[in-house]
Symmetry: D2
Amino acid sequence: MSLRVGVIGLGFFGSRHARVFAEHPAAELIAVCDRDEARASDLADRLAVHHSPDFQELLARDDIDAISICLPDRQHEEVAIAAAAAGKAILLEKPLAHSAEAAGRIVAAVETHGGRMMVGHILRHDLRYVQVYEAAAPERLGEPIHLRAKRNGTRSTARRLGGGSSILFYMGVHDVDAMQWIARSPVVRVYAQKCEALGTGNEDALYAVVNFENGAIGNLDYSWAWPDGLMNGFRSAFEIVGTRSAAAMDVSDQGLYFVDDAGTQGGDTHLWPEVNGRIGGALADELDHFVKATLAGTPYHQHHREALAAIPVLDALARSAASGAPVDVVR
Amino acid sequence: MSLRVGVIGLGFFGSRHARVFAEHPAAELIAVCDRDEARASDLADRLAVHHSPDFQELLARDDIDAISICLPDRQHEEVAIAAAAAGKAILLEKPLAHSAEAAGRIVAAVETHGGRMMVGHILRHDLRYVQVYEAAAPERLGEPIHLRAKRNGTRSTARRLGGGSSILFYMGVHDVDAMQWIARSPVVRVYAQKCEALGTGNEDALYAVVNFENGAIGNLDYSWAWPDGLMNGFRSAFEIVGTRSAAAMDVSDQGLYFVDDAGTQGGDTHLWPEVNGRIGGALADELDHFVKATLAGTPYHQHHREALAAIPVLDALARSAASGAPVDVVR
Amino acid sequence: MSLRVGVIGLGFFGSRHARVFAEHPAAELIAVCDRDEARASDLADRLAVHHSPDFQELLARDDIDAISICLPDRQHEEVAIAAAAAGKAILLEKPLAHSAEAAGRIVAAVETHGGRMMVGHILRHDLRYVQVYEAAAPERLGEPIHLRAKRNGTRSTARRLGGGSSILFYMGVHDVDAMQWIARSPVVRVYAQKCEALGTGNEDALYAVVNFENGAIGNLDYSWAWPDGLMNGFRSAFEIVGTRSAAAMDVSDQGLYFVDDAGTQGGDTHLWPEVNGRIGGALADELDHFVKATLAGTPYHQHHREALAAIPVLDALARSAASGAPVDVVR
Amino acid sequence: MSLRVGVIGLGFFGSRHARVFAEHPAAELIAVCDRDEARASDLADRLAVHHSPDFQELLARDDIDAISICLPDRQHEEVAIAAAAAGKAILLEKPLAHSAEAAGRIVAAVETHGGRMMVGHILRHDLRYVQVYEAAAPERLGEPIHLRAKRNGTRSTARRLGGGSSILFYMGVHDVDAMQWIARSPVVRVYAQKCEALGTGNEDALYAVVNFENGAIGNLDYSWAWPDGLMNGFRSAFEIVGTRSAAAMDVSDQGLYFVDDAGTQGGDTHLWPEVNGRIGGALADELDHFVKATLAGTPYHQHHREALAAIPVLDALARSAASGAPVDVVR
């Protein structure tokens, strides 16, 4: 038995989702959708599947069991609610939504219709974050004392996304989710400052200090202000120190280098590398989990309510950065 | 349709093979075998499969399509030839055999019986080596000039294996295979020196300089003389420089650290890490490939004749280390 | 002509200062002082100099031109003011003092007596920080956008110092000084949170977000909560991203490893390594600068007023961590 | 008292020597010399010293005590012998000479005239190599088992030097000297292979396996075939494993990064970085040692006979690479 899938939104992530589903032995890619019809038909031709510029057409098909939504944040609400109403299993690329209210409405729709939804929190499938999570189990770590998360990218990303996303919802959701997951405790209070000097239409950087319910403190370091020559294109890191032990990871350097006359580049060894002609890494593992758990009817690693818990923190961070005062997280 | 598998030899690799097959959606683990009957029954109980101390029992079963052989090098020949005769598809842990002659006899048996065999060259499934291989395609790299491979481990491994293996056949086969694969050219001449100061019953280290048919030169750096406190337990690296570009990887540091009062340890991010309760990484990818290609009747990424090509190089390296003179590789 | 020096306080830093002065061609170590008379006489014997348990005896000597003060923070004020009154040139280990008020009184004393004083901000002599400073020149960096500084150590240090120091004054002063120096702008507002779970008598960790007068934002990451097995014993990092370019450094790994059966240790390649029998690195460079500039009567790289500028920031950070609210820096 | 110095040859190293001597408190730079008169007069003007295109003029001056020779390898012999005859203390940039015979004649001249000479083996002043040397003391390391040294650079260097130097004499001498120093044992036998595919007028790469008198084995990895985009421009590494412990260093990454739109560059933290307006690092330390030991009449860290011991190894490596056979080192 195969899971029959449609993918909506064929940008960077959507086109990769489509390929991974097409290559998966237990999945069958039925159709792809993008407002840009040429983009949709190109990909559909290559993968020999149907295509449409209208997401409703995919939702109306009986031969589609599951929908992967890879649209810009602000379009999540409409499509996800319609997919829930259509009875499809949903894989929703992070962030759940662009605001706490929209996220709440999506979750309500899923629950009302008795459907199921998995949010694309790829770090939950990244071998490094998962190992840090396991090392942070209370019996190994003791009580958490402090956690730090870094996610930095280049300014051309901020420029490309412009007002369509924000540093918190596009990048920040990863680390807020990871922090609450790894700390085994929710963030209850935040303070953030941002800087907007580059004029990209987005924040350049946002630094925050947060408090967890269990007493630990957290440090968030977000930037997409780095010059575009940054080796590997991004830098992420995570560390947690507890009363008994500590765990840390740093993705600046992945021990893989490609050198030519123009410079030295790194390689992706974990996210979505192509290996032997197909996409591997954490993205493939995430989609594999979605396919198998949906087919088996077993719970996803992360319940959608747990994914939802990141959104009020993003909201509080945005309000703190705007007001210059500490803000309590409202749930 | 599932591939029905038996695993023979339940040491470090065999027990992992068994778990991976048991977890694989397209495989069915039928039985496991080890001379140590307690070890076999323990694992069989946990995985709810049959077990036997006698490999012939597994070969005689009609409900087994494929056999994974994870025995010490010197036992490969007998079991692999019997498995070929029994008409089973074979996954043979590296090295193919402990000598060029034995390897030739195994290959002959497989071909005589019209069977198929895949050798467990895990680097072919390691995202980092595969990317170096792809970066070394002639249109990107130009002509290869020099290649270096390092594989270093700790002395307790050498001590544990004693005379049962050798630095070349246990560790060296990885890099000889990788070098010929990535250089797209066979090694034709070698010179090696070794050192035996620790009295582990094995060589401590072996350094070699080799020549490829295409004119490139190679450098091999093998050791299992490192003190047991080596962070991460091993260090491997590979680099290739060509007329147009170059690629390099280094696995000393994987950007993942676990710290407690006793010290700092690294983590395995690529070989056989446990993620979300199951074994992932290159080993899982290798077995996944074996299952799928065997079921589909498509060729394995690496033909067994290509795996065979590493053995005469190991043989030549051993003879050079013994004689102190350069040795031509005889094929 | 030599600079004749006395060293007061013979702990970790004082004993190293004494050795460096004793080895310096343009300095002459005259006497050392420590309340622990055995410690003072031991070192004095080895270096063939005078010793005393009473710092006033050193200040009273006519054959001493300069005094290096390496005492715990809370004793800086008394001794520095007395040294200024005695007309000695002063090298004062960081931090200037344990409070803004005490720091102000020391500076006033130095200026009243027309003396000179250099504060031991070793990062100003660390090749890596100095190169980041140079890369952050406006014509290279453009306008600063965000700066991050990390200084993390092990819990045994916090335990050893107990209430005698604080994470901000012992460690934090380095990075506050470095941030203001490299950003070419003072910190004007701060927000900090701390955690005290280990019961060492000191804060375990303090995270802060700060604002610079020029609009940049800053992130401070202080901890001495790491387990004592942390490789190298500490981790520090600094990065600055500007409108044109960026610079970063990370001292977690210095590319130097010592391995034995107990584990893998790193090496100090920059702070106070012993090379060819004498202390080198940044500490030696700092003292060399003190000797030469004092003898020549030329300004120190950093004026004492610039060193003083770090203290109100530490003060604001401490008040913010205590109150949980953002605090403006009062100068 | 100052050491009065003249510098002959004002290329990359000579111009730096001149600056370091001009900045040194115990040295006085008197004159500089280069066949390229414009280059000599430019530098002389900036440093306010004499200049000449003729090295004999410098040797004839009574107000010069010491000569630093920074010429291409093939010009070492003539100038060094003349300097020895003129009674000058000599600092001779490595390699001693371009052949074993020339090196022997230089040493003979120095000894005949009762003079003194220090060879510019900068690794003896590199904090990392010195610490590896100290970690390799017999009481810490036990008996050496295997040593590996790597020195890789970019093809533009090979192209620029053309036939004027060779990979062994320009780069290789560093590591041959370091290996014999750190192993506390001479190399007695070598085997080398080289590759010449780029047509730079120089070898692209040379790999070698060597034997030490004490039974250890060595691995040499030389290349200047890397594309010019190699981050930091070079990669060097050294490791030694002994019966008790091991030490390793790697200079690929120095934890210092400069990022702009064109790419990410590293920084020099050890060789000849500029700090606070003057040249620091190992080069400054080396020249400082030359000045102080020459003035004091004390031995140099490395006797010239010890420096000489590297030359026959280079010679043997060149002969082996040419003949394809192992070669015994003749002393």
